[in-house]
């Protein structure tokens, strides 16, 4: 069974949590006891209906304020597929949490309140979807019930959105629009009776029909060594395996591989998945690889095919989102973590910083504050075995760690 990871963006006012609640409710994914708890909680809040949004706002502080602060992960499945929804906050001050939710998603759902149309927030959400190069974007124009299910209002929002796509979108991206009324479930799981002018699929029907070809298998093989397996028992005395999760591409028995950074070559002797020997690995599997030759390989090294070499980056140009209250300026040092590998880096230049509210470049701002997104140049203490994000997203991202607090302070995508 495959897994589809989705992120949703939109503030509580757009009905995002209600939409998710409805998706769960209409797929019978909410059990009776949870529903009863929701009914009781709704009553305590003085509501005369069951507020499905209370299902996802899991923290005391969120329920107090009626907003989503942190990402919540929600699960449901249909007979054909398992869904993981990252319910992400929409407010500008929680942009970092939205990026967290979106970083693992292959579908990005943006909610728009039909009465409001496109807002500053919509632009920001779409910007983040495009920044992370999420190819599948679904725009749910919600609260159609509050505009009498008027087709022209839906059309206008769709037209207005086209302007943003022209400005911020990218070629391979697919943006699909659906008019919904999440509160009553129109076009969420079941088609709406109230909007006969809409002939397209409901949200779930659309999701069910999406097919994701294993694009990563076509990319160059990238195998970071996570852990060296050296059993102590006599029986396996000569066993030396390199455990890791294939980031992209595929590898098979007998392939000529090169170890980075040493550039020593060898051949793949065997591939072990779980407790089984397999001929080949693809599609982000966790495996163990053994080599023909006894060469030096340790954690942080990367195996690539001899024919699929990689640029070793020492100067890294990237777009980052800054995720902490402290300020980033030129000259500061951090630990960069790329996959499993940590390397010391120094900020050598701060380029254009975006104002996340207006999406305009902030003039003369050469520092990053919380939630800022912008360009940066880093110098690494040793080379990074990374790809450009646009070419191979899974091997083109990193985080920055503050060495004093140990916190994750930024996420970056590699531009060159």
């Amino acid at each position: 069974m495959d897994i589809l990871r989705i992120t949703t963006a939109g503030s509580v006012d757009d009905g995002k949590s209600t939409l998710i609640g409805r998706l769960l409710y209409d797929t019978n994914s909410i059990t009776k006891d949870k529903l009863e708890a929701l009914e009781a909680a709704s009553k305590r809040k003085g509501l005369n209906f069951t507020d499905l949004s209370l299902l996802t706002d899991g923290l005391i502080a969120e329920r107090e304020q009626g907003i989503t602060i942190d990402v919540a992960y929600i699960y449901f499945s249909t007979p054909s597929r398992k869904y993981i929804i990252a319910d992400s906050p929409g407010h500008a001050e929680y942009t970092r949490n939205m990026i967290t939710g979106a970083s693992t998603a292959s579908v990005f759902i943006i909610l728009i309140d039909a009465r409001q149309g496109i807002t500053e927030q919509t632009r920001r959400h779409f910007y983040i979807a495009s920044l992370l190069r999420i190819k599948e974007v679904i725009v749910c124009i919600n609260k159609m019930d509050l505009v009498d299910y008027t087709e022209t209002i839906y059309d206008k929002v769709q037209n207005d959105f086209q302007d943003i796509i022209d400005k911020i979108g990218f070629d391979e991206q697919q943006v699909h629009f659906i008019p919904v009324a999440a509160k009553d479930g129109d076009n969420v799981v079941y088609p709406s009776q109230a909007m006969e002018w809409y002939n397209g699929p409901s949200l779930l029907e659309y999701l069910e029909a999406l097919s994701f070809e294993k694009e990563t298998a076509q990319l160059p093989a990238r195998f970071p060594v996570q852990y060296v397996i050296r059993p102590q028992e006599d029986k396996y005395h000569d066993f030396r395996g390199y455990a890791g999760r294939l980031v992209s591409g595929s590898l098979k028995e007998g392939d000529e591989v090169m170890v980075l950074p040493s550039q020593r070559s060898s051949k793949i002797k065997s591939i072990v998945r779980g407790e089984t020997y397999v001929k080949e690995t693809a599609g982000n599997e966790s495996v163990i690889i053994t080599l023909d030759d006894d060469i030096d390989v340790s954690r942080g090294n990367m195996l690539v095919k001899a024919t699929e070499n990689i640029d070793q980056l020492v100067t890294i140009k990237a777009t980052i989102c800054w995720m902490t209250d402290a300020i980033l300026t030129t000259g500061k040092m951090y630990l960069l973590q790329h996959g499993i590998n940590r390397i010391k880096v120094k900020v050598t230049a701060v380029g254009a910083v975006l104002d996340i509210r207006t999406l305009e470049t902030a003039q003369g701002k050469h520092r990053f504050e919380l939630n800022d997104i912008g360009e940066i140049t880093l110098k690494a203490a040793s080379p990074l075995f990374a790809d450009i994000y646009e070419h191979n997203p899974a091997n083109g991202n990193f985080i920055l760690i503050d060495e004093f607090s140990n916190n994750t302070v930024a996420v970056g995508i590699i531009k060159g």
Binding site: K34, R245, S286, T408
Partner: protein, 300 residues
């Protein structure tokens, strides 16, 4: 629907990746082992992650003294079978040391007390990573949990200051005294766990299967009758065919009426269930935020 290969393999690859990161990033990790299906799955994943080596971390069991005897029996069998190292620490010792007080009244349980025993054990062995079988689908506070979740010196979870967790990157860097709780099966649902147990043909404690048991009815739930449960005169024990959907203490885990005696029947039952797994956990019912509050204090 064919049930041959339902379990999403991607979840196993993800969990193995996480377990290997624990082994690489930390000096003294341990698996928090309860004897329940989730921690049994974790042990299996750890076997696969490090094959053909042995599991490189010990199993830590916090024994409340109120466990089902079948769970303890199973635990000891599994340890023998896998060759894993087992460490047991007892809530009774924590009580005897005067660090916590036994609850009283008809809802008395040792569920909250065990947090203190756990934190003491973490300090005693200087564990820097504790691997748990908690899942995000279980409960709404757990839905917010990171895969690597940092705890301060007091074992506390600071929900407002969680580290952002991006892509597949796991940042396990901590300061002395802190530790990380690691949840490799965060993205699994109850059904995923059962399908995994089924497809891996894992053994599980007998109380998961239908059996005859003495129970009492209280607050609409069936409580297992035991020496540890305080019952009143009008709560009269009777015998029924039941099973347990989740395994906690005998004082806070309710039974369900069931005839399911095979994994396939259990899966059918879960598919048709109208009550959630934790609906049978009396410890969650104390308030809407019962889990969040316990987690902030360092609970599992």
């Amino acid at each position: 629907m064919s049930r041959d290969k339902i379990f999403p393999e991607e979840l196993e690859h993800e969990a193995i990746y996480i377990l290997r990161e624990v082994a690489a990033q930390f000096e003294r990790p341990a698996i928090l082992f309860s004897g329940g299906k989730d921690s049994i799955s974790l042990v299996r994943l750890a076997q696969k992650a490090f094959y053909p080596s042995r599991i490189p971390f010990p199993l830590l069991h916090i024994d409340t003294g109120h466990n089902f005897p079948e769970t303890i029996e199973f635990r000891d069998w599994l340890v023998k079978e896998t060759g894993a190292e087992l460490i047991v620490r007892y809530v009774q010792d924590t009580i005897d040391d005067g660090k916590v007080q036994e609850e009283t009244g008809k809802y008395a349980s040792r569920n909250i007390l065990q947090t203190v025993t756990l934190l003491d054990a973490i300090e005693e062995f200087k564990f820097d990573a504790c691997i748990g079988g908690a899942r995000r689908d279980e409960e709404k506070a757990r839905a917010k949990e990171r895969i690597f979740s940092v705890r301060d010196e007091f074992g506390q979870w600071n929900v407002k200051k969680q580290r952002p967790e991006l892509f597949n990157i796991l940042n396990g860097k901590i300061n002395p005294g802190e530790h990380v709780r690691v949840f490799p099966i965060s993205n699994w649902t109850e059904l995923d766990v059962w399908n995994y147990i089924r497809e891996e043909e894992l053994d599980i404690p007998s109380i998961y299967f239908a059996h005859q048991r003495k129970i009492i009815e209280r607050d609409g739930l069936y409580w297992p009758h035991s020496d540890y449960l305080n019952i009143s005169a009008d709560e009269i024990p009777f015998t029924e065919t039941v099973r347990f959907r989740t395994v906690g203490d005998m004082t806070c885990t309710a039974a369900v009426l069931s005839q399911a005696d095979k994994i396939d029947n259990i899966i059918d039952e879960i598919l048709a269930a109208t009550i959630s797994e934790r609906g049978a956990r009396i410890d969650d019912k104390r308030s809407e935020a019962a889990m969040e509050k316990r987690k902030k204090e360092g609970y599992f």
